[in-house]
């Protein structure tokens, strides 16, 4: 395929997909090790009511209020889960189930009650996004990458996702040591004077920011898959946190690239006319990677557990 076709049609969605996948996979590593993997699932469900409320308040589809609304909803959900868990003495899984389903139901109801026919806002879009539509119309080929005029018309999701990724990387790099200590031994971390509660909250908020930004570009299904599958697959590959994070980034990139390519060109190879959902395909590919690593990964067993039990 030539650059004339690739750059305007595929480069930006591919990059956005990769950035989103990596931005979710990085905090996902720590959530997985802290047994909070489903926080990503909960966040991606509650983003919907946040966005709908933001739309109702501002009356327009614009990025900033929607991101704010989604982030607000994520924080509300985390607080509610914690409140219900403590007030009702309910196990965390059930508390999470109560909160995210209710907020999602509220979001759907609000969406049905308001007239959104004039704008592009519906449940299906929220679930699986529209990665394929984020094309760069002003590009004419590889040379456009150096053309400031064409660059000015990049889809706005690309720089936003890149910024988010940068923020996530910065957070993890700055807090690497304390995150590592508090993830593996919270009691020890506290004796060192690390504020583990605050750190845990900061991690969840970082995850929420990544989820909201990715959600805006690619829908919530990728968010859940990327929070869990690449870190889980990486967990089978390494016993070192550094190794696990590196593997997870690799897996995230791999699933984004292969998922996008398979969704865009796979059906054409098979003789079909149209592409299939890229978001769904990326999730599927990440699942395949997980399946392979769960079957053959060198560190797939619980340490100390006898093989084959």
């Amino acid at each position: 395929m030539s650059g004339e076709e690739f750059v305007p049609l595929s480069l930006t969605p591919l990059l956005i997909g990769i950035f989103a996948a990596v931005a979710c996979a990085l905090p996902g590593n720590f959530l997985l090790l802290r047994k909070q993997a489903l926080i990503g699932d909960a966040i991606s469900h509650v983003v919907l009511p946040g966005i709908v409320v933001a739309f109702l308040l501002t009356g327009a589809i614009s990025a900033a209020p929607m991101m704010l609304g989604a982030a607000g909803a994520a924080v509300v959900a985390v607080v509610l889960i914690e409140a219900i868990r403590r007030l009702g003495r309910i196990e965390p899984g059930a508390a999470m189930g109560v909160v995210f389903t209710t907020m999602f139901a509220g979001g759907v109801l609000l969406l049905e009650q308001t007239d959104t026919s004039s704008v592009h806002l519906d449940v299906e879009h929220a679930l699986y996004g529209n990665l394929e539509s984020l094309i760069w119309l002003d590009a004419t080929g590889w040379s456009s990458l150096l053309d400031p005029q064409a660059l000015a018309h990049l889809p706005v999701e690309l720089p936003r996702m890149a910024l988010t990724l940068l923020a996530v990387v910065l957070f993890i790099a700055v807090f690497w040591r304390v995150l590592k200590i508090s993830t593996f031994d919270e009691g020890f971390a506290r004796t060192l004077g690390i504020r583990t509660n605050l750190l845990g909250l900061a991690l969840v908020i970082t995850a929420a920011v990544a989820a909201v930004a990715a959600f805006d570009a690619v829908g919530s299904i990728i968010v859940i898959a990327m929070f869990i599958c690449p870190p889980a697959a990486a967990r089978m590959m390494s016993n070192q946190l550094e190794g696990q994070v590196a593997w997870s980034v690799g897996f995230a990139v791999l699933s984004a690239v292969f998922g996008y390519v398979l969704a865009g060109y796979g059906p054409l190879w098979l003789g079909a006319q149209d592409a299939v959902s890229a978001a769904g395909m990326i999730a599927t590919v990440s699942g395949l990677i997980l399946a392979v690593s769960a079957r053959f990964g060198p560190c797939r067993n619980r340490s100390g557990a006898p093989v084959g039990v």
Partner: protein, 401 residues
Amino acid sequence: MLIDALLLQLGYNATLVAIGATLLGVSAGVTGTFLFLRKRALVSDAISHATLPGVCLAFILMASFGGDGRNLVGLLLGSAVSASAGLWCLNWLTRNTRLAEDAAIGSVLSVFFGFGIVLLTVIQTLGVGRQAGLEGFLLGSTAGMLWADAMVIAVGGAVTLLLILLIRRPMTLVAFDPEYAAARGLPVSKIDMAMMGLVMAVTVVGLKIVGLILIVALLIIPAVTARFWTERSDYVVLLAGLAGGLSAYIGAAMSASAPNLPTGPIIVLMSFALFLFSLLFAPNRGVLAAVLRHFRFQRRVHLRQGLLALAQGQPIYEKLTLRLLRNGGLVRADGVATDKGKARAAKALRDERRWAVVRADQAHEAAAALYDGLRQIESVLTQDQITEIDRHIGGPKEVLA
């Protein structure tokens, strides 16, 4: 309008939906209770998301063989097959790898759902005509439900209930104490599998009404709600069935009574309302009860400390303590103890002294462990023991001037 809907006066279709939803709500509530007590509530999330690829594959299969792709029984069969595949993956991942159950749940639900969405887009492009509300399975759609569909749901709900009735005792045992159940010789893993099978059945039956994203709510919320009201597992099961049935019934009626009220979300919000009420007002486990308990405790502590201060002739400045003492007629408005107050204060001080003896004596170790500064010593020791202690302390002595 709502009254009409609640009394099933809104016509044939609305009545069908309301009855089907109620049956579904009851069986979801009952099934979900065992899941909740087993602390595996979110497994239902994985199961429900894993139904999507099955629905799509069944549609493609039926359509490509020239049949009607929308045959509900076929679609539900397909969803059951892929849900059990998802369940198998989930169990395999938790058993054979180092992943914890939550990570396995998350990966199964996202991957199966992602694959389902790929298949949905395949169906869209396949050109087999109107993909005919397969998206309805995401959020449920009851508009245009047929008599046959309602029958499938009703029969499915009834069969599930019957099965639960048969295996409720082993399931309760496994939910509370799997090790003990195994020691009793019960096949724990098979019972777990049966439990998951029931969850799957409820999910599949509920796909049409509330949709696969929200069916989780019907499995979790009624069980959590019922748990607030009682400590006995059989009552929890009954109450959860009641809560589930009630919210499904009212939800379905409400959604029939006005436009733009989708059934699934309304049912979920209805059951959340019941949950919220229980969280706040349930006796014993509710928030209100806890607040009242806190205030009662606070009053006891203040009263006790006030009496001890009176007995030792210390001045009391704390407002709550003063008010409590005054309201009890133990001190006068100027803070001087009344006769009753003096008697109670002397008793409190003597009890403290008795406790000190008890706590210093190894022989009373068990009783001493119960000391918390508030407990009445008479509720711990017998009258004889107290008399014995009093002999150590001795009676009142004359104060020499």
